[in-house]
Amino acid sequence: MGVLYCLMSMGINFIYGIMKVINWSMGEFFMIGAFVQYLLLTSFLGSRLWFVGVVLSAVAVFILGALVQKVLIKPMFVGIIDAKMEYATIVTISLAIFLRNIAVVIGGPYIYTPKDYAEPTQIFTLPMSGNRLVAFIGALVLLAGFYYFIKKTWTGKAFQGVAQNRTGIQTAGVNVLKYDMLAFGIGTALAGAAGALLAPIFLVHPQCGMVPTVRGFEIIVIAGLGSIPGILVAGLALGLVESLGSAFISPSYVDIYGFILLVAILSFKPYGLFGKTERTV
């Protein structure tokens, strides 16, 4: 399960790396992805073609994300806004509330259940829901794809450049504003894809983005902002801690195990396991 949450963390971290902004509404893009997926499946795709739906949902969320970035976030970087962190935090939190409640207004406070993606199967001797397996593989595919994109393609390297030295890369002729928008779109698309993948597990309803977001953020804090492989490690650690805690102590406190892990790590490493202390002056 930890791996699934990594998709969220990846998106958040990516956006942060490029724009130094934490997008609090990631959970809502997750939710939108889930809704779009559901609509696609029930209207004309049918449940067999669910993986097509995932891709389409991701694209839809990408477009929405890019739009949001253009209208709301970009002004931060073209000199209009004064207190940037404050602005970003409040605006993205408000956006989250806005999207969540608009979903309730449009779709009603109901829970939608998409059809299973796959039959329940068995891994060795443990019964496992087919959905989880599929989602797990899907998440790995997406994460691997994303990793490849960042490390190997030219665009990916451009993103790395923007994250490392924003002013420097402008002198190399890169239009950072365009990359900002792309980054936001990609980050939200990752969340949307996660939402689409996880739709049969978490079910589709306006609040469905909340739990993944909490986990996503916990992973980021544990890993430390700015480290991509760290996220995988943290995701696995979190998943592990949660499963162990649920198995040996009690499943009802599942949230708390993750949080305790977080607290424990922060006490010794305030920046997270792999977090980079930023050069401030």
């Binding site: 004064d82 050069r279 401030t280 002056v281």
Partner: protein
């Protein structure tokens, strides 16, 4: 009978600073005597700002040590260092933008425990000297860059017992008239209160007239030290600035 030299106010000993793979300071040593006005010059990227950041507590050294009189200060928090009588200004003026000019002045005084009434009159005096009085109640963000640099500088003078003042590029991009006030204030504090100054700057003429001695950094190392005239004719220094094109350059004065 050997005469022992007075203890230096600042003793930077073999300081190395690494950021991941980058070595910003590679074994830099220098000593400041009390009452000096020292220039710290060198081409871009030579490690000047990094060095003074370690002196003022923004970073700790990777290796080496920094002593203030006989107290080791590397690794101390910036606010602790400030309480010892060390102030600094930043290359890009850091003022409290949403607070008024007067309130900006009060911060270091209040942090030191001064009484507000006294601090306020002292602040007004300094603002008067700096010709900033008419801007006193305006938020700092409405000031120009040069005015903010000046504000930064006189703000540091509010501390009681100011002994060492480190300035990072105080003259960069600053209007001539403001530059004049800055120079005047440095000379005054140095003469009246024996404040030691360490000034990073690229403005050779100003450094030359203000600083009795300069230290030159290049590529993270100290390559020369001495009066401006000596240093300017040092071939290594010329090399560092011109990057290999050897020319005969003489500096007047």
């Amino acid at each position: 009978m050997t005469e022992t030299k007075a203890q230096p106010i600042l003793d930077v000993h073999d300081v190395v600073k690494r950021f991941g793979g980058l070595k910003a300071n590679d074994g830099v040593s220098m000593q400041l005597d009390t009452g000096e006005i020292r220039g710290l010059i060198g081409p871009n990227g030579s490690g000047k700002t990094t060095l003074i950041n370690q002196v003022t507590g923004i970073y700790d050294v990777t290796k080496g040590s920094i002593h203030y009189f006989d107290r080791q200060i590397n690794g101390l928090r910036p606010d602790v260092i400030a309480s010892l009588g060390i102030m600094r200004t930043f290359q890009v003026a850091r003022v409290f933008r949403d607070m008024t000019v007067l309130e900006n002045m009060l911060i270091p005084a209040l942090a030191q425990g001064q009484r507000r009434g006294k601090a306020t009159s002292r602040a007004k005096e300094l603002l008067d000297f700096a010709l900033l009085t008419r801007l006193m109640d305006k938020p700092a963000k409405s000031l120009s860059g040069g005015q903010n640099m000046l504000l930064q500088i006189v703000r540091g003078f509010m501390i009681n017992g100011l002994k060492l003042y480190v300035m990072d590029e105080p003259f960069a991009g600053v209007h001539q008239s403001i530059k004049g006030i800055i120079i005047k204030s440095i000379k005054m504090m140095n003469k009246d209160k024996n404040v030691t100054f360490l000034i990073v700057s690229h403005e050779m003429a100003t450094v030359s007239s203000l600083c009795s001695k300069v230290t030159v950094l290049a590529k993270g190392q100290r390559i020369a030290e001495g009066s401006m005239k000596t240093v300017a004719n040092n071939p290594e220094v010329i090399d560092a600035y011109l990057g290999g094109a050897k020319k005969d350059v003489h500096v007047e004065g």
